[in-house]
Symmetry: C2
Subunit: 474 residues, 2 copies
Amino acid sequence: MKKIDLIVHTRHLYTLQGDGSGYRHDHSIAVDAGKILAVEPTAEIDGAYTAERVIDAWDKLALPGFIDGHMHASLCALRGLAQDVGNWMMHGLGPFEDASTPRTKDAGTRLGIAEAILNGTTTIGEDGKNADAACRFIKQAGVRGNISVRIRDAIARIYEPGELYEFNDELGRKSLEETLGVYNTWHGADGGRIRVLFGPQGADFVSEPMLLKVRQLAKERGTRVHMHLQQGSRETRQMEMRYGTRTIPWLDSRGYFDQDFIGIHLTDALDDEVRLVASRGAGMVLCSGSIGIIDGIVPPAKVFQDAGGPVALGSDQAPGNNCHNVINEMKLTALFNKIKYEDPEVMPCWKVLRMATIEGAKAIGVDDVTGSIEPGKDADIVLIDLHTPAMSPVYAEPMRNLICNLVYSATNKEVDTVIAGGRVIVEGGKPLTFDLEEILSEAGREADKVAAGASEKFWQINGVNAVYAREGKL
Amino acid sequence: MKKIDLIVHTRHLYTLQGDGSGYRHDHSIAVDAGKILAVEPTAEIDGAYTAERVIDAWDKLALPGFIDGHMHASLCALRGLAQDVGNWMMHGLGPFEDASTPRTKDAGTRLGIAEAILNGTTTIGEDGKNADAACRFIKQAGVRGNISVRIRDAIARIYEPGELYEFNDELGRKSLEETLGVYNTWHGADGGRIRVLFGPQGADFVSEPMLLKVRQLAKERGTRVHMHLQQGSRETRQMEMRYGTRTIPWLDSRGYFDQDFIGIHLTDALDDEVRLVASRGAGMVLCSGSIGIIDGIVPPAKVFQDAGGPVALGSDQAPGNNCHNVINEMKLTALFNKIKYEDPEVMPCWKVLRMATIEGAKAIGVDDVTGSIEPGKDADIVLIDLHTPAMSPVYAEPMRNLICNLVYSATNKEVDTVIAGGRVIVEGGKPLTFDLEEILSEAGREADKVAAGASEKFWQINGVNAVYAREGKL
């Protein structure tokens, strides 16, 4: 008998292999050196292996760890400060982001990623301004990182309506240098568990030469471009003023879309544009919660899927979502699309589970190593407690209700165990690789500083939350 | 110093008094004999009272216990068996409901109510077929019951399209007799904590004489009518065939709507009809999750509110929602309405919190005793753990982010303590007045029986979930 690191015995295992849920009954997962060795009936695994550690998950549901395709965890110390507001950027986030320091972003990064992990996420698609801290914490925590570093050469200032964003070579040079620095340090780190993507902020915020250069550099390095795409009317106006066309046809005419491109949001994309991007082999990330809160819009993920493109879920940011919880994103994605199409059959539960796992992995290009439970892949596994009100009772016949209840009834309370790269990192809902108490305290200390720094501008801007605060509504 | 039963010390207390959130900082709640005696600054309470029990809720958020205006907990043993399906009643619930027995409904009733309580609900608006079991468990658990007993005189059988439902006097007589039996046994029971309402199933399922009689009997007994209202096209077709008009104008012409009427769903009501019902002083219950899953529709609660009517939230049923969790209903209500109106400012968090508490209490007629934390009302209080990722960090200035995070970020994981009628019934997330293990086991045993009984019909009907089950999607 071969001695291995870990065996997980399951009654209800969803491997997500194939085109369905890949359900297996009374199967066990053999794990060694971080990888899945075998997934076979329990008796066979027991006959072939002994293990350092055995987890009896008989009263749990075993799934691939969740994929979060797009997060700004660095904003997490600003949770709950930007929602219910028409102008999210200026009236919501603005005063608080301006009062943030690198320490605020560090604290937020740790809080947001910790939250995601406790909610069952094992692939962290962090995008933004704090890639180094994100990579360090991801490595410490033991999860997979799919890190996109923000590239932008438009000057950040207030622009008049009708004014084009002003590009600046020096800004672009610095931005690219930072990205390459993060790439060189972190791409392939932690035994390949961290990958670094190139993240031009959007076609409006990055000049044409820079966009083309970024794509070329990504190609040369075998990594992907991760970019906000057709985000809203502000982007459209800039593109039309500058190039006389909308974002997607313009980028496509420059050969921008292929299997190495990940488009985020597509909030404002026309159906034909969505189909075009999908037809080029690109992936999409759908941030149901955040776009619902910020724009009141359901992005065209169904159109993207119907055109054959893979879609990942993303939790975006805590000021405007307000949580990093893929189970929440699954539920909202199913429900929002039923409402958008006024059709209860749209986006069934198994489909959104696929978006949270294997389809999401394909969309962001990590399906070679995660997103399903099969031999050769990293052992990224989440165990959901079935002995809970939300998951009870369990039906195995005539239809299994497990995914139905995971998506529509469970929250995050049922996430019991998280295994990432073969390592148990959450057990009984408690983290084993980071100090949650310290992370919560640190975020609290940073919040006090942000509050002090943001106060004057918050009242001056007098957005809707300032009105509510004054009226005693909050 | 007066000796009382309970003092709850809070840092962040939302009383829900007034027209906002009624926030109080560093206040304490004095409770005696199940009622709130005083809500004052902590020093004053400490100076005036000593208590049998003191709860230090410094790191928690204190709120009124949630109001669930409309539940069918009796269906909870069928959780997760009816979603993602176009014909919910026939292709979803049908085969499983047919295979249910009174024991299934008892087990479901306990599971659903237990779930709701653990999620912070202290007023259970159970509607349906198992009122006696619901009342017994509500009394045991210690929460408030607002029980509606189902009245119907239409024969339950398959009708051809275009065929009028057939009324039967004997069915009606029996149904009314049962209702009066439950009313006589339970109305005012448990020191007035249980109220019994009259629940005609819908204007299509109940004959005109019976509808009028029910209303008269409710008036005579000082209770309310709780009724599904303008639920869908099936109802409209019946009403137009029978009476030549739609439900709401027809009922209004018979003087049906006033402050003693609670309309459920209004899924299919026209805006003018919604305004009419609201203008008569009636209340509405909005079941965001269930109507989203079952119909892909966002009911017109905003129109009802804009016309001055109060709206409660309701979790409806676990086969089609799939949970009894008012925090979930708050989040879905805010987000669905933002999407419906494509406006992020619609349904801000404080407004849905009011729907879950004081506004909901008004809508279903229990605001004399609950829905806010103020002297004279029952001590129905929920404590939310702030020392959690979803509720962190806490901002007190320049805006408080507590309600924002409760609605958009929290799930049910943060519900720590539930106090109902002055009694601590949940502590550290664990129930003190019922045996959750036994309830889960019982539901599991019933599920096995339902599965066996439903199987043949499930495959025969061959609804979309049967297709998914066969294809290995579930």
